[in-house]
Symmetry: C2
Subunit: 154 residues, 2 copies
DNA sequence: ATTATGTCTACTAATATGGTAGACTATTCA
DNA sequence: TGAATAGTCTACCATATTAGTAGACATAAT
């Protein structure tokens, strides 16, 4: 899996919307300004996120975007799969399984790829916007939980 | 991290060389034939692997390629980094650390990327050509150890 | 010398990435 | 009702990456 610039922009935009959850529609322009993203490009990204049912839009004056679900119900895996494709380092989960089952000579190689995919999925499917949004405190002690770290360390 | 077609070819070629370790130089043509890879493309890939000191070449008639180190001392991480770049899903390890240290607002996002990178690195830095080469038995019981699975399951 | 092989440089076609431009549509508010 | 405001949609565009191919050249074996 590779996260593109576009994927990063999507995550940044969603973090802004998460920080203002239940505060009404936020304009594309405001998101772009706050995160310093190219406005027209962000338009396309938000459209994609809308089609993927992560955000909703309000048209016309006083319009804008807001999250369709609470921040703790939107996971990084969903965002990355939507804008950057499968989490697997090669093909996708189903494709890898196919290869593992059919290609005896390379079974073990593809199994390693699958292991990598599973490790990434495990982290990203358990980290939500709520876990990363909000410009909160430095690392120091465990004042606030950090989901992905917890998993990585278990 | 994304493994390209080229990265897969590199791994396939190295698996062939691992299977014939200490059997002298193997011709590009033979590797290409055995794994059904485009011969001219494979040339370039092997050159790259030679520059990265994973293989050595013998020129002229009776020439070919062989591994420079035993199969259990060439890890998938090294191969993938050589042909497909950093294991991190965004930027590379050092770049991510920089971002974590400097960009307060997105620290937690970049930390998740770092976690994903570390998970991938953990698997790939502990799986060698010896672990995946050889067209050996089906999964069934644990007749033979499988390094990457062991790690993924610990 | 001839043949077999790796080396090197240059090209290419197709696709992905990271955008920009502008017309169009829907909504608010005076 | 008609500006003004904001999202929607289609079409471009430049550049980089991917996945190769072609061919001349260098080196070694026989």
């Amino acid at each position: 899996m590779k996260v593109s610039q576009k994927g990063l922009y999507a995550l940044q935009a969603l973090m802004v919307l998460a920080g203002r959850y239940r505060q009404g529609a936020i304009r594309i322009r405001d998101i772009a300004y706050e995160e310093n993203l190219p406005e027209k490009f962000l338009e396309l990204i938000l459209l994609e996120l809308k089609n993927a049912r992560m955000v909703e839009s309000v048209r016309g004056a006083k319009g804008g975007y807001h999250l369709k679900r609470p921040p703790n119900q939107i996971f990084l895996s969903e965002v990355i799969r939507t804008v950057d494709g499968p989490l697997a380092p090669f093909a996708d989960g189903a494709g890898l399984q196919e290869l593992i089952d059919s290609d005896k000579a390379h079974r073990r190689l593809y199994s390693v790829f699958m292991d990598v995919r599973n490790a990434a999925a495990h982290i990203l499917e358990n980290t939500s916007l709520a876990d990363i949004a909000g410009d909160v405190s430095p690392p120091e002690a465990n004042k606030k939980k950090h989901r992905s770290r917890q998993i990585a360390e278990h």
